[in-house]
Amino acid sequence: MASNSVLPNQVEPSAAPRRIKVVGAPSFSPARLLSDLSVLSHYRDLLYTLSVHRVKVRYKQSILGVAWAIVQPFSLMLIYTLIFTFIARVPTSGNVPYPVMLYTALLIWTYFATTLTNATNGLVSHSHLVTKVYFPREILPLTYVVAALFDLIIASPVLLGLMFYYRVPLTFNALYAIPIIVIMTMFITSVALIFSAAQVRFRDIGMALPLLLQIWMFATPIVYPLSAVPERFRTLYMLNPMVGVVENFRRVLVEAAPPNFYELGISALIAAILLPLAYIFFKHVEATIADVI
């Protein structure tokens, strides 16, 4: 080949200091958890590269491309609006028009559902990578979280358009949406880690997922407001971490109100406890993943 002459004869040794890695039988210790996290941070470029690719590959060879990120929640909004305002009458929250209330909730629900649908199979569908090269496996489900978050950002301006159309005012309370999305992301990440790791051994998870998501969606105030839930079931209902997140996301964005910190606190607490547990569980499964997958 003509390029032979370009080949450098000397290979400069890598400048980065060497790290000593010790691999033993799978076990759990806090020190290992910390070292796992430091390895993950070392691989952050892979997370970035894979997430970018995830988005690119998803919309490659499709005509609408990234617009699919909008089409999905928007068409769901049209369908549910049709059903729940013309056929069955469902109350809206406050005096916000039903489509606006619905689209806001669907935005964040789509983030949840898309992530789980893709991430659950994230390890299994990458078995060719998982059995051939090493990298922290949690990156695979995480990339689906990032890609779905990207979709959420793409689909958000449509909400502004709807609010403008229905003359719903936007206030500074909307800034609370940022910490709400952080809590949401923590929760999604936990569920994605658990499901994707469990799916390696039990493919039933993937089978049950569409049904589970359907049930979960109706157990979350999306097509109806939280106020429509009878008072005596509220406490039980609030144990679904999605409730506090969805309800308050809607409250701060379209109802121009500050969040209900009690409701949001429950969601945040559950997410904060679940995330480290999910990570430990994932790392435990990861050790033998290549043997089982």
């Binding site: 080949m1 390029s3 032979n4 370009v6 080949l7 450098p8 004869n9 000397q10 290979v11 400069e12 040794p13 890598s14 980065a16 060497r18 790290r19 000593i20 890695k21 010790v22 691999v23 033993g24 039988a25 799978p26 070392h42 691989y43 470029d45 892979l46 970035y48 590269t49 894979l50 690719h53 690119k56 590959v57 490659k60 060879q61 060719h128 990578l129 998982v130 059995t131 051939k132 090269v133 090493y134 990298f135 050790a287 033998t288 290549a290 043997d291």
Partner: protein, 411 residues
């Protein structure tokens, strides 16, 4: 300075088997039974300890199933040991299967970034090396083409090029030279020696004993998950080649167990002098010899040897069925030899299966998969997919000058 250290490492796999006996016909009962399938332990690597010094090139050889690839997977951290400890000092890059980290939809350039970051590199480091990777692989024009449109040769070249240019401290190579054409193979070997000179620690696993001898400072011979010999390349390779059981290497066998009818003992390859060999040249006389044991006579028997490419595709076969004759094999031990006056296989590595079947039978009476590896080196020249044995004769029409015209207008 020790870069790699295996300290009493063992790796156990649990092999689940369907319980064949007392299997119920009922679907649901079968499903329940399958949940409690008989689990069998299999130690792929047992109490292995070794060290690799900085800058050293270690070769690992042994027949299929000896535990070589498990060692590599353990080193690459793809799987974890059942017991024991592995220490790795530095950045390690493993090329277990060329191009395995490629995403078909993405372009060559995107895949370089993807692979680089999988191997633990930062984006700016990859950018610095992009030109060299692309030059080595020779894919300049195709850099922005999705790799699904790449030829398999380009795929292989890019894969090796990425792994070999990421300047790892430790490089693991598994049978990477079994693919790709001869010129690329030599280019790869040259790159490996460059890396070696610059102080990279290399672990090299290959069936290509010639390459192992050229590249490696020290070689480990593995058998049944244990290290049976360690020493200089020449010494260990000699031991390996002299070891009859290597040439007649046997792997897990399958077939109708329990009521055994016949059993394949070994497969070996011989040259015209009747010497056992595992390396032949294209066009050389070649004989394949199968030893078997028969417990119950089989009429209308078929014995065949299937040759596979490293990708696992059937390449060609020897079969007693070729002549339409079906021998009867009787009780006792037997030998069947296939003779081939001129080996038609082109240079490369071939894996083999041996089977004894009965005409019309659905399942083999006995079969052994991936028994012996045959290496073919360049011999009689030729291009294309196989060598065709040939004879040729030259004859010319004698042209008599005066009657030149007459020859054309013969009447």
């Amino acid at each position: 300075m020790i870069d790699l250290k295996f300290d009493n490492v063992s790796k156990r796999y649990i092999v689940r088997q369907e319980a064949a006996e007392n299997a119920s016909r009922h679907r649901i009962i079968r499903k329940i039974q399958s949940l409690r399938r008989a689990a069998r332990e299999f130690w792929a690597v047992r109490d292995v300890s070794f060290e690799v010094k900085r800058g050293e090139t270690l070769g690992i050889i042994g027949h299929n199933g000896a535990g070589k690839s498990t060692i590599l997977k353990l080193l690459a951290n793809i799987t974890t040991p059942t017991s024991g400890e592995i220490s790795i000092n530095g950045r390690l890059s493993a090329l277990i299967e060329v191009g395995s980290g490629f995403h078909p939809e993405l372009t060559g350039r995107e895949n370089i970034y993807l692979n680089g970051s999988i191997l633990g590199m930062r984006r700016h480091e990859i950018t610095e090396k992009l030109v060299r990777i692309v030059d080595f692989a020779g894919i300049q024009q195709f850099l922005d083409t999705p790799v699904k449109r790449f030829s398999s040769g380009m795929y292989v070249r890019l894969g090796f090029s990425i792994a070999a240019h990421l300047d790892p401290d430790i490089l693991l190579l598994d049978e990477v030279l079994a693919v790709g054409d001869a010129s690329f193979q030599s280019k790869c070997l040259q790159r490996i020696s460059e890396l070696k000179q610059s102080g990279t620690t290399i672990v090299f696993i290959s069936h290509d004993l010639g390459a192992v001898e050229r590249v490696c400072d020290r070689v480990l011979l593995m058998k049944g998950g244990r290290i049976v010999k360690s020493g200089s390349a020449r010494e260990v390779i000699n031991a390996y080649e002299n070891d009859e059981s290597q040439i007649s290497g046997l792997l897990e066998s399958h077939g109708l167990n329990g009521d055994e009818i016949a059993k394949i003992r070994s497969l070996s390859f011989r040259d015209s002098d009747g010497e056992n060999r595992s390396v032949f040249k294209t066009g050389e006389p070649f004989a394949a010899r199968v030893e078997f044991e028969v417990y119950l006579p089989v009429k209308d028997a078929i014995i065949d040897i299937i040759f596979y490419t490293p990708d696992g595709e059937i390449h060609c076969e020897f079969t007693t069925e070729a002549d339409g004759e079906y021998p009867r094999i009787t009780k006792g031990s037997g030998v069947i030899e296939f003779f081939c006056p001129e080996l038609g296989l082109m240079p490369g590595i071939y894996h083999t299966d041996v089977r004894i079947l009965q005409r019309g039978g659905v399942e083999a009476i006995h079969a052994k998969s991936r028994v012996t590896t045959l290496r073919v080196d360049p011999g009689k020249a030729g291009r294309g997919n196989f060598f065709m044995p040939q004879e040729w004769r030259l004859s010319q029409t004698k042209i008599i000058e005066e009657s030149g015209v007459a020859l054309l207008h013969r009447n």
